[in-house]
Symmetry: C2
Subunit: 485 residues, 2 copies
Amino acid sequence: MRSESVFAAILAGGSGQRFWPLSRELSPKQMLSVFGQESLIAQAVHRLDGIVDRDAVYVVTNERLFDELRNHLASHPDRSLHDLRYLQEPLPRNTAPAIAYAAATVELVDPDALLVVLPSDHVLEAGQTWHECMSAALRLAAEGYLVTIGIEPTRPDTAYGYIKAADALPAHAVGDALPYRAERFVEKPDLPRAEEFLAEGGYSWNAGIFVMGAARVLAELEAHEDTAAIAQTSRWLAAAQAAGAVDADEARERFGALPGISIDYAVMERSDRVAVIPSALKWSDVGSLVALEEIAPPDALGTVRVGRGVDLDTRDSVVYSTDRLVATLGVEDLLVIDTADATLVAHKDRAQDVRHVVDALKDQGAEEVVQPKVSLRPWGSWTSLLAGHNFQIKLLELKPGCKASLQRHRHRSEHWVVVAGTALVTRDDERVEVHANESIYIPVGASHRIENCGKVPLKVIEVQVGEYLGEDDIVRIEDDWHREG
Amino acid sequence: MRSESVFAAILAGGSGQRFWPLSRELSPKQMLSVFGQESLIAQAVHRLDGIVDRDAVYVVTNERLFDELRNHLASHPDRSLHDLRYLQEPLPRNTAPAIAYAAATVELVDPDALLVVLPSDHVLEAGQTWHECMSAALRLAAEGYLVTIGIEPTRPDTAYGYIKAADALPAHAVGDALPYRAERFVEKPDLPRAEEFLAEGGYSWNAGIFVMGAARVLAELEAHEDTAAIAQTSRWLAAAQAAGAVDADEARERFGALPGISIDYAVMERSDRVAVIPSALKWSDVGSLVALEEIAPPDALGTVRVGRGVDLDTRDSVVYSTDRLVATLGVEDLLVIDTADATLVAHKDRAQDVRHVVDALKDQGAEEVVQPKVSLRPWGSWTSLLAGHNFQIKLLELKPGCKASLQRHRHRSEHWVVVAGTALVTRDDERVEVHANESIYIPVGASHRIENCGKVPLKVIEVQVGEYLGEDDIVRIEDDWHREG
């Protein structure tokens, strides 16, 4: 039907500080599986089913997050998420440069390409309404509109942006999706104004979901002096990337020099070609830990609890524990968020300020703001159990049929004790089956690999001993997932 | 000087539920090292230096706590605490039966014996005043008085008992310690009454410290119908114990049938032979987690913090973390108590109700109310790192020159990986030195023992694999500490 090819850019460069300690710098909010059956980013990918072919989906992230994000998606049971395309911004520079980079990349494939832009860390109900919205949006985008999906506001929320609709564009309706020209954008209004918007009608929440021609959005950026460099640098970077000739330092320098502004501010608020499709989709930007209130029914005193423990006389609070025991007594309006290695106790009204806690902890050099306790790998995961002086204990879990990379270490030996399943271990020239309740020793310098050759999950206790135990002491010789270094 | 021998009974049967999660059933408040350089019970023993010979000190506890308490004291650097005498009540029955059992025991050694009774879980400043109080108390006790040490009240505390002094007994003064006859005892008055006591003067706090003739206190108990059985059963139990002929079932039955009442109620409030020695000793019964307010200076907003993390806009709270990262934001009047495996968040005003939290968790079968994460042993300690299905990981730490018992297991194999120090391992007929970065395997059923044969602490990662991993799967063949089973 449509001659233009359709691509998607899932924006996944956010660090999600406001979800600490559930989120970490290297395991940000989009990787949380708290809201629904799968992580927010996996939900975002699946939201594109039937709209964008899987191999036309780009996950836009930055160099720092790339490896963790790919490991995360590669560990999803749906194998179609294992080989997504990734774009790595040389540095995080807000949404306008991220989208421009994606647009420039797909423009090289098809100058008429349409681009669907989705946040990676929101909750949004898919279904018929969603598909009608996207069909209408793609038709409008093919005609040169910059389309945004508006969410019908259900409360005068002051944390969201609002879009005012002007005249309808009935010719582009699809099912119940009736587009309008957009009159104006208003960022985070104060409460009286937000209440006014709801009373007046015709306003939608800006959900950060856009559909537009790749060339169109680049042209809009080029049309303004303060954003032209965003388009130019993105085209340069996309071309260099396509030619396999990116100079990393130059890329960082040029990309880093771009203004770090949002697509709303750079394009949507300025252009007269913006259309909005209001819809009553169930959506949340999951903007703070208070969103956890929605994931379980409250008890008689209004407290939502997930995890082991008790709440006595605890009112209107959220108590969330990933695995440890947490008890509360006689408190109210609290967020008590507990993970294996860190706990946050905050007043609910201060949920937006959790990032200040993260900043303060960063100043202390706290590793717990960066590293998650469990690190996902394409083959499974590892969990840090204890870090001592000159030794470290991990639990490795490998999925049946999966193997870690063939590697060696310059500074550490490893003792592997298999506690469940059966491992096939390569150690230099040997290949040895190691069964539950057996162990094997990997001396410093020996090339080694572990593989789950059985039919059940393989669990191995790894005791590392050495003078240096950093994750970067790893020489990968061979890797199913083409990881380097 | 004195012909009567002097003994001490340190009452250490308390379960200290109000200090959860710092305290556990098997690691109660008296074993906490939070208040001062050593645990409260070690402080209690050392408080007797120069007053009671070490081999005349009895730690009175119950069967359930005995092993943990002895392990705890046996791991103290002061070796004179390793071989204290212990009295095990067949069941916990409050202070009157506990003291009577100690009195009956020392009465067998010397019918004129004097007995100093000390709680094991209080904080009390030692020094000259303390010694003068005890000298005066021993003189009075030798003349048949039941002596209690009174603490000069500094605030109208409603959680303490009060003692009203009558006429002075100047003949028995020692230094500044001037004893009085006691007029009456008042348990936990309400606030107006407590304020009245302070205004009126002549009242002391009842610190639960007593000095009395062993025969005297037994006679006082025998003099009343409702307490006579306490004296009789205690004498029967002490005699059976001395003869090495205790029938455990009969002991439990007879001791369990005794009224579970306090010595205050059973004797001190009734007798006309009670003397009080008021003193300005610094004392606290450390009655709830709020006592943690005293262990570090508060920040500018009145919050006391111990452990890693930050507090932003947190007022008048206590944030105590043993090893994990804890952050607070915008809260006030909270107790946030964090341990390796459990966290409590409570309003300060509810500190007395923490035991209800413990009860509720017990109903859930939560192991975290019973077991501490780190278990002390005479030879060092073990820390539980991970309990999985059919496997379990522990960190063993052995002090130089110490060895665990020679033992075997019926259900589990053990892999020992030495990560620091050098171990001498006995495995059936072998004796093998295992060095750092080496491992050894102990099959099911093999008799084995680990010994730190080096000069530095030995650290071993123990991976247990088996169908049953309970602590009670242990057959001790030989043990330096004469532990059984």
